[in-house]
Subunit: 318 residues, 2 copies
């Protein structure tokens, strides 16, 4: 089939490009390279079944033309910056909500039958039920990022109901692994590279978070798109565990062989809208036969190894 | 206090304008008169404590200036057309989601401490629990209208968390009463005025719906804004009953003194995204001391009387 992937030069997007090429499909990637990396598509670029469109999701007619003939749209492009939402309050609306509408509308106009979407566990805000199932009590949004992704989910669901497009919504925990380019592991590895004797941590270090390895994430997406039969299919994607931020810091320092002193900003949240406990209940995707292969610890360690071996990435924005 | 009301010339907006003027407050109304009625503001216009700004919510700087100094924003303006969403798929995104962001952002910039918002029971899609409480299981959106209002709720909730604005979200059932200008009572009264011998009904007539009288709705809004103390406060607003569409038709025909023959389009939904059963659990607002005064039947009959006495409104768009 012909798979159209937005955010194709990003961490998860480029990994999906490679996966669908490996599976023998034709892939059209779409990226504006605002945060995407040329190097992530070096392998794909050599494949005659891959085509790249350099453009923005705001360019509606370009998007529509690029999507023509696709059997499946996987919409990964996003402003994935949860933490600094309040610094530029329109960015999430624009890049996550309005651009998802553009994707849905182009899919409708081009009669694409299926759309998969990278949502986030952040749509649960501070969930009333933990581990949090997909049908947990209606949450209150606590970040512009989560709100913008929930809005995008709603648009896709309404398009599914109104126009018969089959929709797959994936609510991710934080994804780790090769090509990971932002988040706390990135920040800590980078700062410990500069000063291995000291590490400052936002919050009290007791925040409980969940992570999933990129290849496990891709397994779940490919499986769900293949097997799920509902009009709208919503899946949490995470491991069956969580760790404290301090655990994660220990894995990182252990892998790097450093023993810094720690200081803490204090409080149970690292920033406004930070969620002190994220743990998703994932029996729905497991019922399709999916099982993650890596533990959180193994995923963190593999990410550290990747970052250490990719100094150009670690210092790209210095 | 100084109350800023969007959609000030609309059905609910203009009624809110009158209510807050009666309560002795200063009111700034904002409306682009795309669907608002000059006549609804005739009373308010005579009040020196009322000021009207004729502009669109897309005019950001005008909106911001109009909001300056407000103690409370009540955001009622919307595309309230649930039924024809699929005919113009961007309208709900634009008028309900993006314009709500404009309202929230202007409130932030102008340091308005409180925002009330007219959401809808449509955000529950086809609810898994009926009567539906505010914290029911996370629904799947079934209309572009519901999706756009849920998105707006999320934006306001994130603004509350991120910027300390207190937010009041009201999920209405359909509101009836004086100044009601669209919906099934309007359509039926109008068509029976032309041909009292026959009435065609979308669906099978067994759809179960809920309605609330406008003055009961206003009581709830004023009370909630006065009493609710959370950062984000979400309230269902409806009576503790529902009726079948056929019941409502009987009330209308009885009030008009007509005995038409009925024909039905069939099926349990009137249109794509129609919800065959809407009934909201309203104990949260009742716990603040609110109680609706009119039954659904009384609200329907009062609406029929109003429409019969307002032929210029009934035929405004002929």
């Amino acid at each position: 089939m012909r798979v159209f992937i937005t955010g194709a030069a990003g961490f998860i997007g480029s990994s999906l490009v490679d996966r669908y090429l490996e599976l023998g499909h034709t892939v059209v990637g779409y990226d504006n390279f605002s945060t995407g990396q040329e190097s992530f598509l070096e392998g794909a670029a050599k494949n005659p079944r891959f085509q790249l469109v350099r453009a923005d999701l705001g360019e509606f007619e370009t998007l529509r033309a690029a999507m023509r003939g696709a059997d499946l749209v996987l919409h990964l492009a996003a402003n994935a910056d949860v933490r600094f939402g309040t610094d530029h309050p329109r960015r999430d609306l624009e890049q996550n909500t309005i651009f998802t509408w553009n994707v849905a509308e182009c899919a409708r106009l081009e009669k694409v039958p299926r759309i998969g979407f990278s949502s986030t566990g952040s749509v649960y805000g501070e969930a009333a039920v933990i581990p949090t199932p997909e049908d947990c009590p209606m949450p209150v949004q606590t970040s512009l990022y989560g709100a913008s992704k929930l809005a995008a989910e709603g648009i896709l669901q309404a398009y599914s109901e109104g126009f018969g497009i089959q929709v797959f919504i994936f609510r991710f925990v934080s994804i780790l692994g090769e090509r990971y380019t932002h988040g706390h592991v990135f920040d800590f590895v980078k700062r410990l590279g500069t000063d291995p004797t000291h590490l400052h941590i936002l919050g009290n270090g007791l925040q409980r978070k969940s992570y999933l390895y990129i290849q496990d994430c891709l397994d779940a997406i490919v499986l769900a798109v293949d097997k799920a039969e509902g009009k709208t299919n919503v899946f949490n994607l995470g491991t069956d565990e969580y760790c404290e931020l301090n655990d994660s810091v220990r894995y990182i320092c252990g892998r790097l062989g450093v023993q810094p002193e720690f200081s803490y900003s204090g409080g149970d949240r690292g920033w406004i809208g930070d969620n002190p406990f994220i743990w998703l209940e994932c029996s729905r995707i497991r019922a399709l036969g999916w099982k993650p292969k890596l533990t959180i610890r193994a995923a963190v360690e593999r990410t550290v190894d990747y970052l250490v071996s990719s100094p150009e990435l670690l210092h790209a924005r210095d």
